[in-house]
């Protein structure tokens, strides 16, 4: 059983957030984590995962074309994505620079794939997932840990039901 964390990162900020989410996934016994930049993703990686957490910088307030292309490529294979757990994260250059709308765009793509999407847990406090303006600080790292942990726990719950 494993969670795939996929990201696009130009400056390294989104990658840093991805690593903190991976650390959260690993807190849950029995769930493994695979962390990959979107450039290295094969479609089989997506089909094999029990949960997928996808992240992107905000480009025009939506996901980078690199990540969008990944979703576009699996459109005809949506049945293979059914009932996987999904979640999103994002970074931006400004406090209202599109973090939220980027996460919503990712969650929308996941919903279209038939995935079961979730946001960050109440202790993290956001609405749609974990976002960071620039380099993730201690606060964002903590939220990212919590998001990873939540997705891993949900994957575990789904597999036992």
């Amino acid at each position: 059983m494993h969670v795939l964390i996929v990201h696009h990162s130009r400056t390294g900020n989104t990658e840093k957030l991805a690593q903190a989410i991976a650390a959260g996934v690993k807190r849950v016994a029995g769930v493994d984590c695979v962390l990959k930049p979107v450039a290295e993703i094969e479609l089989e990686d997506l089909f094999a995962a029990d949960g997928i957490i996808a992240g992107s910088p905000s480009y025009y307030g939506t996901m980078a074309s690199e990540l969008k292309e990944m979703f576009d490529r699996i459109f005809n294979d949506r049945p293979k994505m059914l009932d996987k757990i999904g979640a999103a994260f994002a970074t931006a250059g400004h406090p209202t620079g599109g973090c939220e709308t980027t996460m919503v765009a990712i969650l929308e793509a996941m919903l279209v794939c038939g995935m079961l999407v979730c946001s960050d847990p109440p202790q993290a406090g956001g609405h749609y997932g974990v976002g960071s303006v620039g380099v993730p600080g201690d606060r964002e790292i903590k939220w990212a840990n919590l998001l990873g942990e939540r997705v891993a726990s949900l994957v575990l719950k789904m597999s036992s039901s």
Binding site: G61, H94, P95, T96, G97, G98, C99, E100, T101, G126
Partner: protein
Amino acid sequence: MHVLVTYHSRTGNTRALAEHIAEGVRSMEGVDCILMPVSEVTIDDVLAADGLIAGSPSYYGTMAAELKRLFDRIISGHRAQTARKVGAAFATSGHPTGGLETTMVSILQAMLVAGLVVTGDPRSAGGHYGVGCAGKPDKHAASWALDHGRQVAELVAQHSNKQKQASR
């Protein structure tokens, strides 16, 4: 020529942001500003304005019902009269990703449906959809709000000059 700045505010944070925006509107010569909580706004107030800047706290990541009700009232029968006014949005929330952006997008969507010509915040403010802040506006948010109000006022002035030229 005037801009109506309207808001819903429970804690006072959205009202504080609205006041900074109003100050920005008033910095433009020839453009007046009316600042009003949405509970006091009538349809005539909206129809009389050349520009509308609406703000709300993020409730479930979208505008508060109080503001939504104003748009719902406009849409039933007044849509033709709101067409081509300039529109913009602002928002507050309790968390940095607590729905600021999606609240502004929900306001801009309503404005687009009502036929307004909408704008985000100017380059100097740097956001994507308008001015937002988590909690009480700090000095950055105050300065972005000022620029945001000013930009809408400038657009209203430009827009009305063009309309005057066109009618000559």
